[in-house]
């Protein structure tokens, strides 16, 4: 059976709403994906039947909440083919996962130590390292970006040197849609004993994957981009890597024992989960990943690739339109950034909005990448399986309107 986005759409209640009285063409999925009814139901069911604090309670609700929370961890482990559930640390999102990693990996580093990242990184995978540089005096080295919008891996040889301790790169750019090939990255890292951290915020929603096969030591992603709730994320780590990491935040649940004089910390993943965790959100994330694994999305990639290519090709027919990212579907996802000559990205996004077309305009939390392309921002259409040809048509009708509005500007 061919993939039918209508069958997906009916599971997402928001897609049937008419914000401002217009049909919704939601093409802002790279910022936040929408959430299916089944995930909302899972959260509601948890809150109304299993709500309690986890891990330390023996009463029935506490046992049920703990089971639900750990059950969600198991689902995440299955989604990313982890060796053990204990490799899955729940965080509050990609940002908090990377901050955790930067603090823990950075704790023992100092002047002379080097960290390799790229010009294409989202601020979430840039600012924590700038802050680490400030605190510890480490050196940051940046892989450049090609004209096509890919991280230029040919620079690895020059940049990854003996004192390199961490290579941290996005699995997929939230601006250009380009997927990073981690084979040379991992090889370069192994050669000098550096850890590999992967920002999987944009890639994790694409379906089950295997972080350790990728060669990652640590892998971060967010719930809200993978059809789950806000306020939950994952830092997966190889067991030995997590075991060697000091904690980030302190509080209840992450200690083995504590007195006024000293503290000993628990084992991963608990060591990294201080305080009451986002329990209902973990349950929601579990439901979302189960939904992704359920088979509903079989064929969705082909569908999204086709729509992506339609967008790219139609853009190429517009005079003054500039694509920022690869122009074909090789190793790229359905995130399409573009500039229109003389039109500000916010004006584009605003005019698209009057057609019910939701795209993002701006720097997409990737200022260095914008600078690389000599832009202050782009407009960005990003796809999910529920998007349709109608959404693409509406996008281009709206772009035509924008061009008309600004003609002679």
């Amino acid at each position: 059976m061919a993939f039918d986005p209508a069958r997906i759409r009916e599971q997402f209640p928001i897609l049937a709403t008419r914000p401002m009285g217009r049909p919704l063409h939601y093409l802002d999925n790279a910022a936040t994906a929408q959430i299916p009814q089944t995930v909302i139901d899972a959260i509601t069911a948890h809150e109304t039947t299993h709500r309690a604090n986890v891990t330390r309670g023996v009463h029935a609700l506490a046992e049920a909440a703990t089971e639900a929370y750990e059950g969600a961890r198991h689902i995440v482990a299955r989604y990313m083919n982890a060796t053990a559930d204990s490799e899955v640390v729940f965080t509050y999102g990609t940002t908090s996962a990377i901050n955790l990693a930067a603090h823990a990996l950075g704790e023992g580093l100092g002047e002379g130590d080097e960290i390799v990242l790229s010009v294409a990184e989202h601020h979430a995978n840039l600012v924590p390292w700038l802050m680490l540089r400030e605190r510890k005096g480490v050196t940051l080295r940046f892989l450049p970006v090609t004209d096509e919008g890919r991280i230029d891996l040919s620079a690895l040889n020059n940049l990854v040197r003996e004192r390199c301790k961490v290579i941290t790169l996005t699995h997929c750019s939230n601006v250009t849609g380009a997927i990073t090939d981690f084979r040379p990255v991992v090889a370069a890292a192994r050669a000098v004993g550096a850890k590999v951290l992967v920002d999987g915020a944009q890639m994790a929603p694409k379906g089950q994957f295997d972080a350790s096969e990728l060669g990652a030591d640590l892998y971060a992603f967010s719930g809200h981009k993978v059809y789950g709730p806000n306020g939950i994320g994952v830092l997966w780590g190889r067991r030995d890597v997590l075991s060697a990491m000091p904690p980030f935040m302190g509080g209840g649940g992450m200690i083995r024992s504590v007195s006024l004089e000293s503290v000993t910390y628990g084992d991963p993943p608990k060591r990294f989960e201080a305080g009451t965790p986002p329990i209902a959100q973990a349950v929601g994330l579990g439901a979302a990943l189960n939904w992704v694994m359920s088979g509903y999305l079989d064929g969705a990639h082909k569908h999204m690739d086709r729509l992506t290519l339609r967008i790219i090709e139609r853009l190429q027919g517009i005079p003054g339109a500039r694509l920022v990212g690869p122009a074909n579907m090789e190793e790229r996802v359905g995130v399409v950034s573009f500039a229109l000559d003389g039109l500000h990205p916010h004006d584009i996004a605003q005019i698209l909005d009057r057609h019910g077309v939701a795209v993002r305009g701006g720097h997409h939390c990737a200022e260095p990448l914008m600078t690389r392309f000599g832009l202050t921002g782009t407009a960005r259409a990003s796809l999910a399986p529920y998007n349709t040809d109608e959404d693409v048509d509406a996008l281009f009708e709206a772009i035509e309107d924008a061009l008309r509005t600004f003609s002679g500007h």
Partner: protein, 149 residues
């Protein structure tokens, strides 16, 4: 959430004029402000007359149509006005964006164009930025604190 269409003719006309920079001779003060939301940047120059009123205003906008339009409307609005009056104009503009009330139009007719932005909260700062920049330029011209107001 707003319902009206932002890009009405009034605004588009102002924006067209604002899309090209305009510099003035011998400015008494200059200020550049960024919009942290979108990385846009506005530079406003101003010269004052003997009474301290604004004699001329220049602008250089790297920003959206609203910001461009506002820079031009600012020049129209502020010429011949005292800093106190310009402060009042900024307040009126903020209230107009927030309340969509025609009251403010009468006092500042050029600003009426921005009523269509009402409800589009994410864009308010685009409109306000040139006004803020002028106030910083004035305070800078007075040797005052040039930090953002």
């Amino acid at each position: 959430m707003g319902g009206k269409d932002i890009y009405e003719n009034d605004i588009m006309e102002l924006a067209r004029a604002g899309s090209r920079p305009r510099y003035i001779d011998a400015p008494d003060g200059t200020a550049t402000l960024d919009n942290p939301l979108c990385g846009d940047r506005v530079t406003i120059e101003m010269r004052r007359d003997k009474e301290g009123k604004i004699a001329d205003i220049g602008h250089d906008v790297r920003g959206c149509a609203l910001c461009q339009a506002s820079a031009v409307a600012l020049a129209d609005t502020a010429r011949g006005k005292s800093p106190v009056e310009i402060n009042a104009a900024l307040s009126a503009l903020q209230k107009m964006l927030k309340d969509d009330h025609e009251h403010h139009e009468k006092a500042w007719p050029t600003l009426a164009a921005f009523r269509s932005v009402h409800g589009h909260k994410s864009r308010y700062e685009c409109v306000l930025l040139p006004f803020r920049a002028l106030l910083v330029a004035i305070s800078e011209g007075e040797g005052g604190d040039a930090s953002r107001p």
